[in-house]
């Protein structure tokens, strides 16, 4: 199949950037979206043009490195799928695709489609952990955790930290990301002791890092490649209220 691409090219954080047109020719429907970009890049290199820079690593939909906005949708049209797991059979011969980086105040562009997501790390550093020192922490099976709680924690822990939720949000909020970690740890006995501090510190860090606030658009859930649910945002809000001074 043949496609026309309009790709955001921006030569560094200071550059203004613009869309450039490229043709992707003879694309195999079995190739992944990133493999399609690889082939376009091969051609660019042959013509002495700098290839399109994009972040990626595992290409298995788990490391959270990849991602760009395809025709307005973070990670592209297929539900619950990262850009690296998106396959070209999802598109038709002759389609036009516009590729842009995550756009959010908290994610400055590094080059082309690659952005700086350090702000997400800052949120975790503010409290997304239990303060367990390495060493004698007690036998694992001494604390029972019900299967529903364990499953709930795991549903929240599915988040791969890709930032698509931020790119999808009209406010550039990282609420889905933040709530997933808050909820995971709040439901487990190991995380409960620090729950109040955690939710306060992480929410504050989110706002300080330049992310917006959540006004319930739910675009985040629609864009999330791991199906992280907005129910965790409700959980965060409950945890937040619990943490307020009485």
């Amino acid at each position: 199949m043949n496609l026309t691409l309009y790709v955001w090219r921006q030569n560094g954080p200071e550059d203004k950037g613009k869309l450039e047109q490229y043709e992707a020719k003879n694309v195999s429907p079995d190739s992944s979206f990133l493999e399609m970009l690889d082939e376009v890049n091969q051609e660019l290199i042959e013509h002495g043009v700098e290839p399109i820079e994009f972040d990626n690593d595992c290409r298995e939909g788990i490391c959270g490195t990849c991602g760009c906005v395809v025709n307005g949708i973070p990670h592209g049209p297929q539900e619950k799928t990262t850009a690296c797991q998106l396959h070209m059979r999802q598109f038709k011969d002759g389609d036009s695709l516009t590729l842009e980086p995550w756009r959010a105040k908290a994610f400055p562009v590094i080059k082309d489609l690659a952005v700086d997501r350090t702000a997400l790390d800052k949120i975790i550093q503010a409290g997304g952990y239990t303060s367990a020192y390495t060493g004698e922490v007690g036998e694992a099976n001494q604390t029972l955790i019900s299967k529903p709680d364990a499953d709930y924690a795991m549903d929240a822990a599915e988040c791969i930290g890709c930032g698509a939720c931020v790119a999808a949000c009209p406010n550039g909020s990282a609420m889905l990301f933040t709530s997933a970690k808050v909820a995971q740890l709040a439901v487990l006995p190991q995380g409960q002791i620090e729950a109040a501090e955690r939710v306060k510190n992480m929410t504050e860090a989110m706002l300080n890092a330049g992310f917006g606030n959540c006004t319930n658009h739910y675009e985040c859930q629609a864009a999330c490649p791991k199906g992280v649910s907005v129910k965790f945002i409700a959980k965060l809000n409950r945890e937040y209220i619990k943490a307020l001074p009485k």
């Binding site: 030569n11 560094g12 195999s28 079995d30 190739s31 992944s32 493999e35 690889d38 091969q42 290199i45 042959e46 002495g48 043009v49 700098e50 290839p51 820079e53 972040d55 990626n56 690593d57 595992c58 290409r59 298995e60 939909g61 788990i62 490391c63 959270g64 490195t65 797991q85 396959h87 059979r89 590094i110 080059k111 700086d116 997501r117 350090t118 997400l120 790390d121 975790i124 550093q125 997304g128 952990y129 239990t130 367990a132 390495t134 060493g135 922490v137 007690g138 036998e139 694992a140 099976n141 029972l144 955790i145 019900s146 299967k147 364990a150 924690a153 795991m154 599915e158 930290g161 190991q190």
Partner: protein, 638 residues
């Protein structure tokens, strides 16, 4: 030179405890004066950095990804082993130790493996305390499953994302230390040289992958936890950025490369679909717990739809060849068996390089819902990639390069032959011998990072004056010049071929000649082809863009350049090891029914290779292996 692994003596059950007691300690008040550089933030490096930060050392942690949470450990699906014996099914530290030694085909050190088995239980405790959401039973207890090559249920898991959850545990512990200021995080950096001063590791030179700047950092010790090298095959289950670069740079500075020919080819990967392919995707080995491997008995049937092939016309070859382990036979054995069937022209799918992994009987037995609960995400992933529904038709799988058992040589303290250089996780060679069992790499990474290095590095640092050498030492300047020189050379070739075309070609050479079946002729062929390709690389490579900026082409070019050198040592090792063991299968050394034949008389040793300069043959050093607790025996899974 005969190498000494410096293993403790005396009864093995007491060896680690005794060693721990005998090691020197660093005064708590002095710890912050010691600067420790950790390259890699996967399970091994992440756990090490967090723990050493907690202990009070002044730690710097480097990784090439944009966040320390994204190391390739994240991709591990299946699970992590521990000798908890929660199921009362006969597991114990001794059995895990025994299984690992035997699984590794008697090519690993007993003392190291014992320690791994011993601390395996602490790992589970630690991860649970961190909030890792392991799978649970309805009782609230931790759930287990059995995993390739083990007859007991000792594998802990978190859906199909065990690696991710364990890594996030370590990442969060690391985040806590970053906030506390004990660890400084340096993502988007790539180590490009080890700085050695008077024979001792004293720092690193690295490239800032955003600005292109070449920087240095001094350290009283340097820890490499930089993962494995199977991307030398180009197509593998590893992430795009995985490389041998850090280890190879250390090797060029004198660190020995041990058993590089031991590579693991994983049996259950999605077969290649075309030339556009950039990587191969693993389907977790846990799938073999319920899936049955088969190919048609007759060549004529290979083109038929699987449902049209009657049960009696199917060859369940693993069950036939290995009645007691069946579909759970260890990886090296299962991979070779799949290759044999395809070589016999009975493979299925494109190019007939594939075998079926069939869930029909499991679905009939426990129902589709149970199978969905166990493997749902894997079936989804399979469908995304192949457009086939594995609930309705069998999966197609084929072996793919997956793991490197070989790596930098280390002693019992995880220290290389260069004092002050420590190596952890997949990057070292220590515990898996010639073949790794499923769910034991995660165990090793976390064992090394949480429970071994925090002790052993203290033993070393207690003998060092903190900050004795800093980056104003002339060796740092020299190192920067070397690194800069190599980058300038790469940028200035201005030839015609892209980096990835060279990588693909190297991968083909390695897969065809140094892959699942190796012969003297194929290895010699590779030793001819690799230097030819390397020569062309340095004459005809094209790297676009600017070195003083983010430049993915330049990053890849450096990595491929290192693979082109490393590949030769790997092949040399394979050629010298005139026996078959674990993942290293020499066609000249097999039994009548095609099983690997070891030669314990001649090859019961670790082969550690010393780099001797470009174009020169590396020098072999040996560390003899002694087996005092497990009897050397033929490894049989019949």
């Amino acid at each position: 030179m005969i190498l000494d692994g410096k293993c403790p003596t005396g009864p093995i059950e007491k060896s680690w405890d005794k060693h721990r007691f005998e090691m020197k300690l660093v005064n708590p008040a002095n710890k912050r004066k010691f600067k420790v550089i950790i390259v890699g933030t996967g399970l091994a490096g992440g756990a090490a950095a967090a723990t050493m930060g907690e202990l009070g050392y002044n730690v710097e942690a480097y990784c090439y990804q944009d966040s320390t949470r994204r190391a390739h450990s994240i991709a591990a699906q299946g699970g992590i082993n521990a000798a908890k014996n929660y199921h009362n099914d006969g597991d114990s530290v001794f059995r895990l130790f025994y299984d690992t030694i035997k699984g590794g085909d008697f090519r690993a050190r007993e003392a190291d493996v014992w320690r791994l088995a011993q601390v395996s239980n602490n790992i589970i405790d630690q991860c649970v305390a961190q909030g890792v959401p392991f799978a649970r039973e309805y009782s609230g207890l931790l759930a287990n499953r059995s995993f390739g090559g083990a007859q007991v249920s000792r594998t802990f898991y978190a859906r199909g994302q065990t690696g991710q959850q364990l890594l996030l545990g370590a990442y969060q512990a690391l985040a806590r230390q970053a906030k506390a200021g004990t660890v400084k995080l340096r993502p988007r950096t790539e180590m490009l040289d080890l700085v050695v001063v008077d024979g001792v590791a004293k720092g690193i030179t690295f490239r800032n992958l955003v600005t292109g700047e070449i920087e240095t950092s001094w350290g009283d010790a340097v820890v490499l936890a930089t993962g494995g090298y199977v991307n030398v095959f180009y197509l593998s289950t590893n992430a795009m950025g995985c490389s041998v670069t850090a280890a190879w740079k250390a090797s060029r500075k004198g660190a020995f490369m041990a058993n590089p020919c031991y590579t693991q080819i994983h049996p259950t990967c999605i077969p290649q679909s075309g030339d556009h392919q950039s990587k191969l995707t693993l389907m977790s080995e846990s799938l073999r717990n319920d899936g049955r491997c088969w190919v048609p008995k007759r060549k004529e049937d290979c083109e038929k739809a699987p449902a049209d092939i009657a049960d009696e016309d199917r060859d369940y070859y693993l069950e036939r060849k290995y009645p007691s382990f069946g579909n759970l036979a260890p990886r090296d054995i299962a991979s070779r068996a799949a290759k044999e069937q395809c070589d016999d022209d009975r493979g299925v799918g494109p190019g007939k390089r594939g075998v079926y992994l069939d869930y029909k009987s499991a679905i009939d037995r426990v129902g589709e819902d149970t199978i969905r609960e166990r493997y749902g995400n894997l079936f989804d992933m399979y469908e995304k990639i192949t457009d086939e529904n594995a609930y309705k038709q069998p999966m197609r799988i084929y072996p793919a390069p997956h793991y490197s058992m070989g790596g930098l040589w280390v002693d019992y303290n995880c220290m290389s032959n260069i004092p002050g250089l420590f190596v952890l996780g997949e990057a070292n060679f220590s515990v898996h011998g010639a073949n790794r069992l499923g769910a034991s790499a995660l165990m090793q990474g976390l064992a090394d990072g949480y429970f071994v290095i925090p002790y052993t590095i203290g033993n070393y640092l207690a003998t060092v004056k903190p900050g004795e050498v800093k980056d104003d030492h002339p060796e740092f300047k020299k190192s920067v010049e070397e690194v800069q020189g190599r980058i300038d050379k790469l940028m200035s070739i201005n030839g015609k071929r892209s980096v990835s075309s060279f990588h693909r070609e190297l991968g083909k050479i390695m897969w065809n000649n140094v892959g699942m079946a190796r012969s003297e002729a194929s290895l010699k062929e590779a030793l001819k082809l690799i230097p030819e390709l390397r020569a062309e690389f340095w004459q005809n490579l094209k790297v676009t863009g600017d070195k003083n900026q983010r430049n993915g082409q330049l990053e890849d070019a450096g990595r491929v350049a290192d693979f082109l050198e490393f590949a030769e040592v790997m092949t040399t090792d394979a050629l010298h090891r005139e026996e078959s063991c674990g993942g290293h299968f020499r066609v000249e050394h097999q039994t009548d029914d095609g099983e690997a034949m070891r030669d314990d008389e001649k090859f019961c040793y670790v082969a550690a290779w010393e780099y001797k300069g470009e174009g020169k043959a590396p020098e072999l050093h040996k560390e003899p292996l002694k087996f005092e607790n497990v009897k050397l025996a033929v490894r049989s899974y019949k």
